[in-house]
Symmetry: C2
Subunit: 374 residues, 2 copies
């Protein structure tokens, strides 16, 4: 008898939430669907396309729900990450990142035989790798030149550098220039709404300058792709972005929830990590069965959902210590829901998302691209 | 054609390290084997058993290498985590943690039909769950009472509390009291050798007091299990621990490497995260293709191996920014080796460990318990 066969499934349809074995990643389908509808409606109203980021969820069922509402496709951060989405029927995937080694270029070129694919470049050497790989595979790869609009990570600065890369791209008939990528990650997490608005305007202004200079040089950018969940409203009205790459809006983690929204587009917490109290022997705290292997803590510790007096205080590999302030500690065996600090790397720890509606399991979605970082 | 079938294996035997696609988790087999030999020799010399922690590696091939050198079995932190080890032939597994819900007790009781299993308790309610589950499954579960020796997480305080739990355990004929677990996690990471020595002595002293009080009450503790990679030397000579649960010693992460060792038992960095430079467009830094989804950052950012002037500066989902101080930045496409900040949650991000000897791939080991946190 195989021991692993003793392990029951994470959950089955019809199971009440309280009976889901922990730790388990839960999705409140009603809140999730409202989040998808809300951003799609705002994009439609602005006449801007939505290309949600698959890195946030790595889950084909989520991508299909986004596309069913009008998304034009998805982004992925890595080529291998895109493959399960292609298999699930996603027909248009942009790799919102550079690749600089031959095995990755070869993989992308072969994937481009199965779906419409594009990728970013910020160096002529990347262009050459892609061009050779596309020729070898007999495919066409879409290319976006990434420009730095203040994030200070990848991307070239200014229209002249873009024009030089366009010359490189033009040497390879199987590379197709599709526009610019302009992404500013850090501004997404500025807490103040006013500051996000101001910094988004500056970032969009930088992108607009490059677009105008290219236009003056006779180069049209059909697509300018970028933006995110913290700046979407400003990106929509920027006049420069034609396509928004938001990801976290579908789930809303604790970090994005800590942003100030005011009258801006806001989303609901839809994703939770269910855990159970496993020890109450020590005075003054309870210990839950979810730690670093169930929750990413790069953006801080999780919140405790609807139990305002409880605080998740400290994470080790498989333990979390919970304190209480002005109320009782939870009881041994009790289930708690945590709001992950950062949804993207938290989802990447899990093989399945347990989907609930009205507190009852409706489906279990495989996180098919989990761990695919090549 | 299935897109996922386009993805080549992480590596194949005979491949030079420089050609391993990135990100990839690498194990230097020579250094790893020296680490295993070193701790086993110290345990043998001290007449103390070694029960290495499977949570550190989640990899049956690692456990089998530890057992081949004399380890009496392994620890796991979760019941589901133990299952792939049982399937690989590990015959004796201690769950070094409490479980407090019926599904987990049932799973453990059924696993105990396939291997010698034990678990920790610090509450009579856990004992009752285990006793019922063992009766239902027709198995025997070994039980360790966890005592708190200063860590302040799980475990009861003092011999009286242990004696009360022994009364509960005695009510269930299929539960077998096997001894005490006494673990102090935080002292493992104290940087100063003198401080680790002093704090280890205090912690061991607390355990010894409980053992003595139990002995005076006529209760013999055959096994006192605990200890870790940062305190192993002191645990060996403590006179109270009969079994050491070290895990990280096999790999040595950056965090443990930052400890001061002096004349104490020390281990070599054997585990690395291979990444590639994907962008050098911005002045003053290079961007590598490994971030939060390839490296756990709860214990700080990774070090850059054998490139002292390079510093991994900032991690996002799939990016790392590398700065140079007093030397050149790495080139586009260049491979770098990173020393993970914390090996346990880093390994839990990966499905495979690429094992090298002399810079050439010798094997690829599946991380079979990855993600099994139930």
């Amino acid at each position: 008898m195989k021991a692993l066969n003793l392990l029951p499934p994470a959950a089955v349809a019809g199971l009440p939430m309280a009976q889901v074995d922990t730790p388990a990643l839960l999705l409140d389908l009603d809140a999730f669907e409202r989040n998808l509808d809300r951003l799609q409606a705002a994009a439609d109203a602005a006449g801007v396309k939505l290309r949600p980021h698959g890195k946030a969820h790595k889950t084909p069922a989520v991508a299909l729900a986004q596309i069913a509402r009008g998304a034009v496709g998805i982004c992925c951060q890595k080529v291998s990450e895109a493959l399960p989405f292609i298999d699930a029927g996603v027909a248009d995937i942009h790799i919102s990142n550079e690749i600089a080694t031959a095995p990755k270029a070869a993989l992308l070129a072969r994937a481009a035989l199965l779906a419409r694919m594009s990728v970013c470049v910020d160096d002529a050497a990347q262009v050459a790798l892609l061009g050779e790989a596309a020729r070898e595979a007999g495919s066409v790869i879409g290319v976006f030149v990434e420009i730095d609009i203040g994030h200070g990570r990848c991307g070239v600065s200014g229209a002249d550098a873009v024009l030089r890369l366009l010359e490189s791209i033009a040497r390879f008939p199987q590379l197709e220039f599709r526009g610019l990528q302009a992404y500013h990650g850090t501004l997404q997490h500025l807490r103040s709404l006013a500051e996000r608005r101001e910094r988004s305007a500056i970032a969009a202004g930088r992108a607009a300058e490059v677009v105008a200079a290219l236009s003056a040089a006779g180069v049209r950018c059909d697509t300018v792709t970028g933006g995110g969940s913290g700046s979407a409203e400003f990106d929509f009205s920027s006049g420069v972005f034609t396509e928004i790459q938001a990801g976290s809006y579908a789930f809303m983690d604790r970090d994005y929830g800590d942003n100030e929204y005011g009258d801006a587009l806001r989303f609901e917490h839809a994703m939770f990590l269910a855990c159970s109290v496993m020890s109450t022997a020590a005075p003054g705290h309870a210990v839950v069965d979810a730690g670093l292997k169930s929750l990413a803590v790069d953006s801080g510790l999780p919140g405790v959902w609807q139990r305002g007096h409880l605080k998740y205080h400290q994470a080790s590999d498989e333990h979390g210590v919970v304190h209480a302030d002005g109320g009782p500690l939870p009881m041994l065996g009790e289930q708690l829901l945590l709001v992950p600090g950062h949804c993207d790397p938290t989802i990447n720890l899990h093989d399945e998302i347990v989907c609930l509606r009205g507190g009852v399991v409706e489906a279990v979605w495989p996180v098919s691209s989990r761990g695919l970082s090549r």
